[in-house]
Amino acid sequence: MDLLGNLAHGFAVALTPANLLYCFLGALIGTAIGVLPGLGPPATIALLLPVTYGIPPTSAVILLAGIFYGAMYGGSTTSILLNIPGEAASVVTCLDGYQMARQGRAGAALAVSALGSFVAGTLGIVGLMVLAPPLASFALRFGAPENAALLVLGLMMVGYLGGGSMAKGLSMAALGLLLGTVGLDPIVGDARFTYGIFKLAEGFQFILVAMGLFGIGEVLVNIERMVRPEVLRTRIAGLLGTREEWRRAAGPTARGSLLGFLIGVLPGGGAVIASFIAYALEKRLSRHPERFGRGAVEGVAAPEAANNAAATSSFVPLLTLGIPGNASIALILAALLIHGIRPGPLLIQQKPELFWGLIASMYLGNLMLVVLNLPLIGLWVKLLQVPYPLLAPFIVVFVLVGAYSVNNSASDVGITVIFGLLGYLMRKFDFEPAPLVLAMILGPQLEASLRRALIYARGDLLIFVERPIAATLLALAALLLLAPLVRRAARRRLADVLAPAPADDPHGRQGA
């Protein structure tokens, strides 16, 4: 079937009443949690994972994906109106969005952000649709050595791009790989690190780890540093913006979309970095860089386009290689695994209804999001008035029910609480939970590929160098090890460009 035929098939899947409803729910929940500081997309997806057990896999993915890209829309609302990023990917939107709001142009800022997000999201889907099938066919040539090399590169990139110190990111990845070894050996089936505890034979269940790290961990951190946001008392007028504003926003939206798409494809890339780089690029290209930070519409359009395009394109490595690039995508991978579907090069061929249904639902979801975010903006501002202390108990209850429902076992609740403590400590000590979660889910694949490759090559390590694809991937991974030096220099330049720095996210939230 050709592209259009496939897409038509996808729309037939996405337009069924049930899937339309899941798509709408995803967009709605995504916007809500994007607006609410204190609850990020990974936490929400983790909380909703148990709910997706009972629905078909395609619907589950449509719902969870909607939450993920919907949060990118909602996150900008708080950045513009409160100077508090609802999501880490909207931090940079604060710089000019809030200034625009203070100058009485909140409406225009929200409109540029929502329509820019829509354009970028839609372009991102086109890119995903065009790029994913050939990439998947290419990846079909991968054997065990290539898979192992690809996973090593993926983990290195997550450590490198995940923000913060590379050593910290990689150490969390290593810890995740270790945690992933608890349970049955993937090749011979021996029990490892179970110490006679029957429960540990199945390993740490990913969903419990995710709910603990993201759900409980986030609540604990928020309780510790509670900050009460003040909504800017401004009348949201002029939602259409002026013609001049749209003219100035057009270029940044296009460039932000392209940049965001390219960065989002990289594992660990994602929406946060995309938004920062897009902002820096626009400031550099602008003939009036002095306007940035003082309410420049370009400074809203570019990062908002970039974070949406990146959110969409981060589905590329998941759907073609089976490698999740960020925590939210890892949780969507977990939802698929629960349904017995392992994403990889064969997914598009074997589950076309899932791949094309998801693509079509993204087009629909982006449309719904524009409607949800522009005319209904007043509603979302009201939602901000729900105080976090009243919201937190409901999040906790959701986690507790979710943890129990995995195996109907109270000890699972205990495991989740323990990982909640770990998630809290990680945030306290400035470690990102995302690399740990990704490594935990990729660990068994990495180990199996590595050991198979070694068995196949009779222990000859040269197999990773003699095969060109594996060698290239490993060379890239090795280059990344040198990257902290390069990054230190780049960060200094980025800091110069971005000054004045955005306010720290007072809720210490996880990005993307």
């Binding site: 009972g54 150490s171 490892r192 409980i216 510790e224 609480v417 403590l421 809290y424 090559a457």
Partner: protein
């Protein structure tokens, strides 16, 4: 904050050493041409140990960046953690509605103090509402405890 970073690095180092020792003790390493169950954990423990040493070095380096000052409400966090731990223990004997009511009430009276009527009403709503939604409607077999049946 140097001490904090160093403590985190030391904890990771301890995990790495423990993992290396335990995988060497419990699991057959095999050989490079036929790696056993202990092969991968052993090497990962080694990598983690090396990274922990790098982090330790960075933390102890003179002029390591000072962390930001944070509001300290650690007591509330520890209190909530203890209550959640207790929740896992009493969930089956006490039943879901009662145990959940307790956790939410604790959060609304101790973690983020609200007025009694608000706290009681919300705790009842959260516990009862979630029991009806998940237990009765979505058929999650939540333990009913003494209140059930």
């Amino acid at each position: 904050m140097v001490r904090r970073d160093a403590a985190a690095a030391a904890a990771l180092l301890a995990v790495a050493v423990a993992a290396a020792v335990e995988s060497a003790r419990l699991l057959p390493y095999g050989a490079v041409r036929n790696p056993g169950p202990g092969f991968f954990p052993w090497w990962i423990a080694l990598v983690l140990g090396a990274l922990a040493l790098v982090l330790l070095g960075q933390a102890l380096r003179p002029g390591a960046a000072a962390g930001r000052a944070e509001p300290r409400r650690v007591g509330r966090v520890l209190g909530l953690l203890a209550v959640l731990g207790l929740y896992a223990l009493v969930l089956e004997p006490a039943g879901y509605p009662l145990a959940t009511f307790g956790v939410v009430l604790f959060m609304l009276r101790v973690t983020e103090p609200q007025r009694w009527p608000v706290a009681l009403a919300l705790a009842a709503l959260a516990a009862g509402g979630s029991y009806v939604l998940f237990g009765l409607w979505l058929d999650v077999p939540l333990p009913a405890g003494p209140l059930g049946r």
